[in-house]
Amino acid sequence: MNDEQPTEQQDRRLLQAWVAGDRRAGEQLYDRYFDVVYRFFRSKIPEATQDLTQTTMENLIKSGSNFQGTGSVRSFVLGIAVNVLRHHLRARGRDRLELDGEAASCEDLGLGPFELVAGNQDQKLLVKALRRIPLEHQIVVELHYWEGLNSREIGEALGVPASTIRDRRQRAKVLLRQRLGALMDGEQRVESTLMGLRTWAADLRRKIRGG
């Protein structure tokens, strides 16, 4: 907490310098935020992590001059990442809209053919569960617990009031616990795990349409 202030000030200086054309400042800022941004996309759109990380970094240079200085650089960077994510989802969501209640989660949006490789079995399940809660909730949980942002900062990144973020985080934890419970029970069940919810839903759709 004590070194929070100076770091933040450094980040601001680096961002200003980069926008002004200082490449070395840019490299430092890149080193500081690469992992944050990479991790953000890796847990959501694994197959496009690299592209989206790159777009975010490029947008950061383009729009760095818009940085108001009211929030932190960290939430500014993540705000850009959130917009890049939204844009990406919109681009691919157009032809495959699903209107069921859970559809806004990564898993149900059919994102990412691959599993994350996490350190141990519990974490693997946790990452899976995260991918099964609505995306907005997933983002809130990750930014809070992984990136250590507080509700105000998350609110800045997502463009919503902090109170909404607090509600959402409570809700997210409830959902996450449900999903986690279901995953632990379901680990042995072929229907839900072996086939994967994604393919199962797709099967159903095709069965109905092909009728």
């Binding site: 989802l89 609505p134 250590g148 994967g196 009728g211």
Partner: protein, 944 residues
Amino acid sequence: MIGHDAMVDVRANDSMVEASASNDPLSVELRRPMVEAGDGFARGIAYETIRQRLFGHVRAATIGRHRLEKLIGSGGMGEVYAAHDPELDRRVAIKRVVGCSDVDADDAQRLRDALLRDARSAARVQHPHVVEIYDCGVQGDDLYVVMELVEGPTLDQWLVEGPRSWREIVELFVQIGQGLAAAHEQGIVHRDFKPSNVLIGTDGRARVADFGLARVADELKVTRPGNLTGEAIPATSLGVVGTPQYMAPEQYRGSSVGPPADQFAYCNALYRALFHAPPFSGRTLDELASNVMEGHLRPPADRHGAPRALVGLVLRGLASDPNDRHPSMSELVDRLRAVLLRRTRIAWSCGAAAVALCTALGGYWWPRDSMASPCAVDEAPWTVQERARVHDALLERSTTDSWAIGPSMAVLDQRAHTWTAARKDTCEATLVRGEQSSEVMDLRVACLERQRVQFSSIRSALEAPGGPAGIEALSLARQLAPASDCSAELVRQLATRARAFSHRTERSATPESEATWRELTERLTRARVAAALADYPRALDEARSVAELAEAEGFGYLLAEARLLEGAYGMRLARTQQQHDRARKALEDSAPLAVASGSPRLAAVAFLELAAMAPITGASEDRSIWVELAAAHAALAPFDVDLSRRMMLARGDLARERGSLDDALRHYRQALSLGEPGHDATRAALGVAEVQRARGDLLDARQTLEDLRRMLERAGGTSLLAPTLHNLALVALDQQAVEEARELASEADAFYRASATVDELEHQQARITLARALRLEGGAMLAQEILLDVVAVLAAQGIVARPVLLHALDELIEAHLDLGVPHDARVTAERLLETAVLHYPDGHAEVALARMMLAKAALAAGDPELALLQSRHAHESLGADADALLRAELGFRYAQAAFEIGDRATARQRWQETNELLDGIPGAEFGRAEVQRWAEERGLDRER
């Protein structure tokens, strides 16, 4: 490459994590660093590549001479990267197999040699349908294989992308089979064939990947978590390598594995692709394994149009004993090709001459080279050009609901596709397979012809300038009857009934009547288009006159359809009881007519319409009868997704009305689970939210609605946003977030105004909510103004609008009272009671509520006698099962009125009753305190 340390930098700063989270086991779990062990490599490449693009340093990661560009896939064996080969200046894919960490150096070396040998032998297979291997080698602990880069989906992705006909699937599998056959000829077995190992290039060419890698991984003892997620499992858990869903019995047993195992996996994948279900069941891995080993093969429940011969070929490939399968992959491929060919050549029209010719030949096998064949080559209800024109027209017109274009085209494609299949099956069932009589064939052909005419008239309506777009186009497309309505079984029943009652079956043979029939079908489509564009008067006129003509001509099905539409549109326009009864009569006529003309589906729809209008007439007992009748008829009809979703919605509405919230929620969720966006799906989501709200689960309700809102916004589904925003406003009101509610309701109002085909009642309801929020915010004047307008609009709507009108009058009374004009309140309350009595029986809660409002207004206007009269009347007519809050408020008004006229004993008695009722109502503390204060001020609490 930077170290992994940065990945552990999670900054779980305790002071940032709110204190409430600290005893929460989940939050402890979450605070743990997420080290993604196998991911550091990919991350490193991303880091370097982006750094290079942004800042121009060259420090790229390489494998051999190849510069890695990015991660494009990962699975049980390792990761796949896109890379650049500078020497040959081409892009390649590199598979990196990680491992060897648990093995000592000598073993590792020996294993690496073995697997390199395997990979090199796999590289010998050069075939258009096998992914080409350029090179392989070892770097550090890892083996890498350099391959041809195929840009395009894997087979499983391809299958999910859209509905595929059996023909498309078999054509693709023939390519894949050739690839496998070529490998088998080289003595190479795949061992882990599955859809994710097949790549389909943008040129449409399928290529099989990862030959022999399963064995390689086995030898490397790559101990990836053994799992049930469709990845290969390691040697340790079962002593075998493969992917459980696709593994052959001999693989499960651990016996020697040869080409027949690949054939098994191939047929397994083909089975799933064709019939949308796995060939072996099993909820657990053990169960699955034993079903596979014991050969408990499930025959497909639904062939999805695939010919029987094809089913036979697939099942044979899945035989338990490898010797019982097809002799070889190439043999199987030849047989699949033959099925495709046979089906293509059986050509032409089921004309009389062909019937005679075919019957003479005895039907069963149609010679391959015959010039005249009895069944058409994929006749379709529209041409490719027509389809393109519809698509362009929809695209051009879509201003709001652009998302609906995809689903609309999908519905049309599906109808066209199943029509083509049904048309062909009809012909072949009689002429080729000899399964059905020619009478049934004629009936089915007539039925399908009717559908074709309907299809083309809807198509031209969609194509025409000024036609419906967005969601209106989608609902028009959904009105096309599915081809399953013309199934052999249904027309057979129809024929039996026609014989029994000596009815005429649809359409007479004369050319005049044929022309009339076509014209009427076209006119009915015009009625539908008019309705889709919200021109109900025109739609009703058209439907009504088609009904008259169809009746005169004796066109049973057409008459049923016309009466159904007449009833449905009439219902929307009914202003008087008489008009309402007339519409109801049309619907009631339509159902038996539909049954008589062989369409239980149409009958079910008619009953659903009747159920939907039941609340308007206040007859809720009728409603459950209509729903049951609809269900009974729906059960007779072939499965149809739109119908079953509507069924579930109707059941949900019914359950909600009866207060069985759990059941309501279940039905709405079921309706939602049927996917596909549109009105009905949105209705289902709104239903879920309404039930959640009714239960007081406001956070859940808000969540459901916000998810829906986001989805609609992302998709551009503007016309469905209005009801969503309105429901959000209601939730906000419940949460006392008045300002937010006002904003949401006024946004909803704006959306309703912007929409061309608005549901007037829904719109007025949103305005009532807006007025309520305004009043609660202190803007009673503005609220009153809005409500006066709402009441005028609703009054002009006549009988259909009555329930909503009652609500508007309630709000208007409150506004009058807030503004301090109790006499206006009293006049409005009298009107409220009048309207309620007109619509509902005396004991109905609505009537009691109206009396309560009148009592309240009378009290304010200084007329306690009237208040006493009304509240006593209502109090006596209400049963003990009536809503507790209503009874409580009524009791309170009764007490107030009694007190005003000096009857302290009654006042005290009613006050105590009210208290008891309020005690049992969660969340009524505020009202309870108010009532208490009233009694204390008047000393009632001290009397006995």
